[in-house]
Symmetry: none
């Protein structure tokens, strides 16, 4: 079953708002096994919308639109869809009563142009809209179906969940089940190279690689009439992938690196203190993003200046003079200093040159040292990142969290 | 001049990510007077992309694509565009050198499949990509032009701003000049209400309101063949707007709140130390985003636990017992404590309930106190935010920076 998503509205066409409707619908359709090969956006324009419907139905069985169901003159999606299907609109007095009572609840009266929202084709499925005045509608002609949904996500999403999803599921037998593997420490092209034969062999499940800001993910999607069979299909591919690159997997599905690390800290009853220079609070901030972290996270400090590094962390003046603030020696003293200071199991530190200025030949922009003290042991990692100040700081933060994760797994 | 935006990628088609590229491009094209009537999304599929290009060029002079320029086998946008224009791809050794040196900077080596990214048509404009391995490209044939941009916004946006915008502007006589006013402390609908007559009256310059995460912006865009005339048009509207809501403007164009605040600190020769609870390092991190901050930013601390607040900042046990960690009293003691501790002009503090748990009737999720000590004076602001943990922490960070800004302007 192939569907196409058309979002109608000048505000999307001009970039005034982000098109979150397409994402929501695309994700939902994928989850119930409806294939989507095209998404389009078009303005509230009769000719262009009509042409687009013609194109869409050449390729797809179902078209789902959002937007253009409102009361004003430039809301024309329903009228155009009816025209395309050669159907006349008639007045539904029961729908008009619903609309009036919706306004009443708000202490308002509908205007004359709201009446437009009570006109529908004779033969259609009207979808109730408890969150607004525009009901949705499903129109059919031969094997073509068009589903018209309102534009505001607060109206569209409940309508999809309450009526459209089950309607679409009733049209097909198949289920699609997905699992996402999250990788860190390996790039997209290297990962693909290592898995290329598995990827090329597969059609069910499918395997898709995505490069995200600081990680790569693989989504395995199986299609079957039977949940168990789909899960077995996924499992067998997942095992193959793990056999080759399992050590780079840090988590599954919608987890994040900071969540994994925070949970490991809490689970292992480990306390941590963080001293940051170039990342300036980003490592602490990520850890604190996890609501249950308070029992593990003792304190963070942002020691950007040499004075702060000495006074707060006990980094030795000689170390700073001899090796500089951006050095493995300083990173280690920062990590040890904060851990000793607060009597924690772990001390984590970052120091680096985030740029844009401040780099030298010997110590270029992007050079970052990450120090970790963990129950008496110390370790330091030297990294060379590239990109903007923001990108370098983000990558350093991620690298620090990953180093911590690897130590916690030992 | 009509353009069409095509985003290429299975991750958008399946709803894994929101299509922010289309919004960015749509907005930018609107701002320079290029008309966009259609936006499309299609997967990495040869036949479908080829068909879409054929459709698009029936309607538009220019097609801009994002995505599908990566090193892997399913990155096919460049290959399809060349095929559509009947052009052969040849190896550019200089581009290959660039790619290799990009990898070198990261301490990595390109893999064999990265070579694909150094192949381009003989006759084209190659667009440099300092933020990734995939250069962009502009292909022309008769009066059709296709502009291929990489998918990741961090690569696509700088490439558009640095090369594509001026290229598109060079195709037309008219210049569009824009100025953005950035507002904080006033909502989108209130701002619109106060300016509605000015907005409705205008056609040149146009006035567009945008609600961002923590702010609202107004973009004034004037169209003229003459720069001076365009600037005069902007100035006259800007003055009208300032007359009504000038006190909410914190900056212009691409500045950020943290940049404004950091510059004010440096300019006023003020030193600052930050103590954060619910924001967990985000305030420090934002300040340190400004490269010149080291002379002003003395230290930050993330005192998430009561112990840390007492030991590190000297918050009194009685204060915590009597008023709680989330109280104006604690916020003040945190701000004063860090400033005294480090002998700075300013101490800035945050303490609040970011959720999802931990709220009570008296102290609900979203309650945040921001404390500021500035040369002997103290002030505290009570805020009630709503939304997710992440959103509350972001809004608290922004509010703290804005409070600091307002104090620095006194």
């Amino acid at each position: 079953m192939k569907a196409e998503i058309i979002t109608v509205g000048t505000e999307i066409l001009l970039g005034d708002i982000v098109n979150t409707n397409s994402q929501f619908l695309a994700k939902e359709l994928a989850s119930i096994g409806v294939e989507v090969y095209y998404q389009e956006t078009v303005g509230d324009n009769e000719t262009r919308l009509l042409n687009l419907l013609e194109e869409a139905f050449k390729r797809s069985d179902i078209v789902i639109t959002t937007g253009g169901l409102g009361p004003t003159n430039d809301d024309i999606t329903k009228e155009i869809a009816a025209k395309y299907f050669n159907q006349e609109l008639v007045f539904y007095s029961d729908i008009w009563e619903n609309i009036k009572s919706y306004f009443e609840k708000l202490g308002l009266k509908p205007t004359e142009n709201n009446k437009k929202q009570a006109y529908f084709p004779k033969d259609c499925i009207i979808l109730d809209n408890p969150n607004g005045t525009a009901p949705g509608v499903i129109l059919k002609k031969e094997n073509k179906k068009i589903i018209l949904l309102p534009g505001p996500p607060k109206e569209m999403i409940p309508m999809f969940n309450n009526s459209v999803k089950s309607y679409l599921q009733s049209l097909t037998d198949y289920k699609l089940i997905s699992k996402t593997l999250r990788f860190i420490g390996i790039g997209e092209s290297e990962l693909e190279e290592k898995l290329i034969d598995i990827i090329n062999e597969q059609s069910n499940p499918t395997i898709a690689l995505y490069a995200k800001e600081n990680e790569v993910t693989i989504r395995i999607t199986a299609k079957s009439k039977d949940n168990k069979k789909a899960n077995d299909l996924i499992k067998s591919i997942e095992d193959k992938i793990k056999g080759r690159v399992g050590k780079y997997i840090y988590g599954y599905d919608n987890t994040t690196l900071e969540e994994i690390v925070a949970k490991l800290l809490v689970k292992n009853n480990m306390t941590i203190a963080v001293s940051e220079s170039c990342t300036g609070g980003m490592v602490s901030s990520k850890l604190i993003d996890y609501p249950g972290i308070s029992q593990s996270f003792m304190e963070g400090c942002v020691t950007y200046s040499n004075e702060a590094k000495m006074n707060r962390l006990g980094v030795k003046k000689e170390t700073l003079d001899k090796y500089g603030a951006v050095s493995s020696e300083t990173a280690i003293e920062m990590a040890v200093g904060i851990a000793k200071n607060l009597n924690t199991n772990i001390g984590l530190s970052t120091t680096g040159i985030a740029g844009p200025g401040g780099g030298t030949d010997e110590k270029p922009v992007g050079l970052v040292y990450i120090g970790i003290y963990i129950n008496g042991d110390v370790k330091v990692k030297k990294c060379n990142f590239s990109g903007s100040r923001d990108k370098i700081r983000n990558r350093a933060t991620n690298e620090a969290l990953n180093l911590l994760r690897l130590e916690l797994l030992k």
